[in-house]
């Protein structure tokens, strides 16, 4: 093909430019899918329960990721502040992942269990009532808006299609029981998604108001599980370095 024919044909030029540029991306991304060590072998990582998953949807809907990353990087200062650095395995069921790169607020990868449910509820309703110097906006409607979970099964089916092991068949359920234990496997059963969501919301009552299931219930459930699935005391200092 002659140089001139490329330069005088805009359509061809665009297609060839895209092809050349995508080489850079493909070379960086594609190998991660077949290199064995990309996702670390680690116990404890599980899919989100229906309630947590809806909380995650709200996290995304409200744009929390524009100010909060979910990625503790392997530096000493980050370890001292946030805890153990994030593993790829910890976001293997996140679609899309919430790593982010913009930290206007603090990183949230290990926020689970750090504060009480009550603290989260009040902080989300009015951040400055707890932290006068905070610039986070309030989200008071979360506590008063009933959670729409009518489409939770459809959402889980969509996630199943991209690799999250929610179960439909008896066989898939049994496999989940083996992998995650019966208590969790029940939560991952798409056939009972709605009942499981209601059960968790009523049992744990994250927002302190048991009269209805609010969006606050879901969001706090999600925040409280972030970064808590892996028990890092089981692994020595160098364990995860072996995967890099």
């Amino acid at each position: 093909m002659k140089h001139e024919s490329v330069e005088t044909n805009a359509g061809l030029l665009i297609i060839l430019t895209l092809a050349v540029i995508s080489v850079g991306g493909l070379v960086e991304i594609v190998p991660l899918f077949y290199i064995d060590d990309t996702i670390e072998e680690v116990d404890g990582v599980r899919p989100y329960t229906p309630l947590e998953q809806r909380g995650r949807d709200i996290f995304v809907r409200e744009g929390c990721y524009t100010c909060h990353s979910q990625m503790v990087r392997p530096f000493r200062d980050e370890m001292l502040r946030y805890g153990h650095y994030s593993l790829a395995a910890e976001s293997m069921y996140d679609h899309p992942f919430q790593w982010g790169s913009k930290r206007t607020g603090p990183d949230l990868a290990r926020v689970g269990g750090k504060y009480s449910n009550e603290w989260h509820v009040q902080h989300l309703i009015d951040p400055r009532s707890l932290l006068p110097e905070s610039i986070m906006p309030g989200y008071p409607w979360l506590a008063t808006t009933p959670l729409d979970y009518s489409d939770i099964a459809a959402r889980m089916r969509a996630l199943k299609r991209v690799g999250v092991p929610y179960s439909i068949t008896e066989e898939e359920y049994e496999s989940n029981v083996e992998k995650f234990g019966e208590q969790h496997a029940r939560m991952f059963d798409i056939n009972n998604a709605e009942e499981m969501l209601i059960e968790q919301a009523q049992e744990e009552n994250f927002d302190g108001d048991s009269s209805f299931i609010s969006e606050m219930d879901a969001l706090v459930a999600y925040l409280q599980v972030l970064g808590t699935m892996v028990d890092f005391s089981e692994y020595d200092d160098g364990h995860f370095a072996e995967f890099r």
């Binding site: 190998p31 077949y34 060590d37 392997p74 000493r76 009532s129 006068p132 200092d237 160098g238 370095a241």
Partner: protein, 312 residues
């Protein structure tokens, strides 16, 4: 050099410089000048840099693995040395063990861990480390409730900067608070006391803090406070001095953490605030940190908090 000369020179150059040979719209041509030398050599230098980098660091994917490079990092795991190819996680493990600041920090941590509280609080060297380190821990773990400076939130989270200690202000008591958490509880008296009685108790409590109140009311309040009807004395003491083991605050020092009495506009407003508080009771919880923080961290936070408000 005149404008005319410039023009002539450019004309002359144009005739000598090679073009790419492409012609658009009949007369648009493109020069084919050689690249500047400095740019060309800069380009070769980046190529050489890349080649060296590929040899030293992890670089190219091969099948289900990748080239690891010649660079290694050695760090310790449980007393054993482990050497691995260069990667950021191993780098971090080594930095946590032998990095300049990590080593310095560990020395100070060991120094503080070996000292008792009395020595730490008197040792300027230890205290400057404690203040620097614990300020960070406090910001991460405590400030969400007690605020960055430790001043708390009236009505919700205790102020740690004043001389008032609900659960005791000695280092041992503070350490126990951080380690095991606290469950603060005062029952509601709405079913026990009438609204008149509530006002009388409130008047008595205000009188303990030198506010002007009706003396008949406060006398009646005292009888409720110190008698079995209210039973307030069981936690707050006969004289209202409080009882640290119950988390019952001293009611005589005019320090108010849960209601803003000094900020109230009038006598009746003050009376209403206290009476409503007694009517509704309160329950507050401070979480336990023994499982989340190391012993050294708890020790330093204790010394730090003790120093904030003039501990006892």
């Amino acid at each position: 050099m005149s404008t005319q000369d410039n023009h002539d020179k450019n004309q002359g150059d144009k005739n000598q410089v090679e073009t790419t040979g492409h012609v658009w719209d009949g007369d648009l041509q493109e020069y084919n000048n050689p690249l500047p030398r400095w740019w060309l050599w800069g380009f070769y230098a980046t190529v050489v840099f890349a080649l060296v980098y590929w040899l030293i660091y992890p670089a190219w994917p091969i099948g289900d693995s990748f080239t690891k490079g010649f660079a290694t990092i050695t760090y310790e795991v449980g007393g054993e040395e482990r050497t691995t190819h260069w990667n950021t996680r191993a780098l971090l493990a080594r930095d946590m063990q032998t990095g300049e600041y990590a080593v310095r920090q560990r020395e100070m941590l060991e120094q503080v861990a070996a000292q008792d509280y009395e020595t730490i609080l008197a040792d300027a060297d230890s205290m400057s480390f404690v203040n620097a380190y614990a300020q960070g821990s406090f910001g991460t773990w405590c400030a969400a409730c007690h605020q960055v400076g430790g001043a708390g939130v009236i009505g919700q989270y205790p102020n740690l900067r004043n001389d008032h200690w609900k659960w005791g202000g000695t280092v041992d008591q503070i350490e126990q608070t951080i380690r095991e958490g606290r469950m603060g509880f005062m029952p509601a008296f709405r079913d026990t006391l009438s609204s008149d009685q509530l006002n009388e108790v409130a008047a008595y409590v205000l009188s303990l803090n030198d506010y002007d109140v009706d003396s008949d009311m406060s006398d009646a309040g005292e009888r409720i406070f110190t008698g079995m009807e209210g039973g307030c004395f069981q936690c707050h003491g006969e004289d209202g001095q409080g009882l640290a083991s119950q988390g019952a605050p001293n009611l005589t020092n005019n320090i108010w953490g849960l209601i803003d009495v000094p900020g109230a506009d009038s006598d009746s407003e003050r009376l209403r605030l206290v009476a409503n508080f007694v009517r509704d009771g309160i329950q507050r919880e401070m979480p336990a940190f023994a499982d989340r923080l190391s012993d050294e961290e708890i020790k330093m936070l204790t010394a730090y908090v003790h120093s904030l408000g003039g501990g006892q």
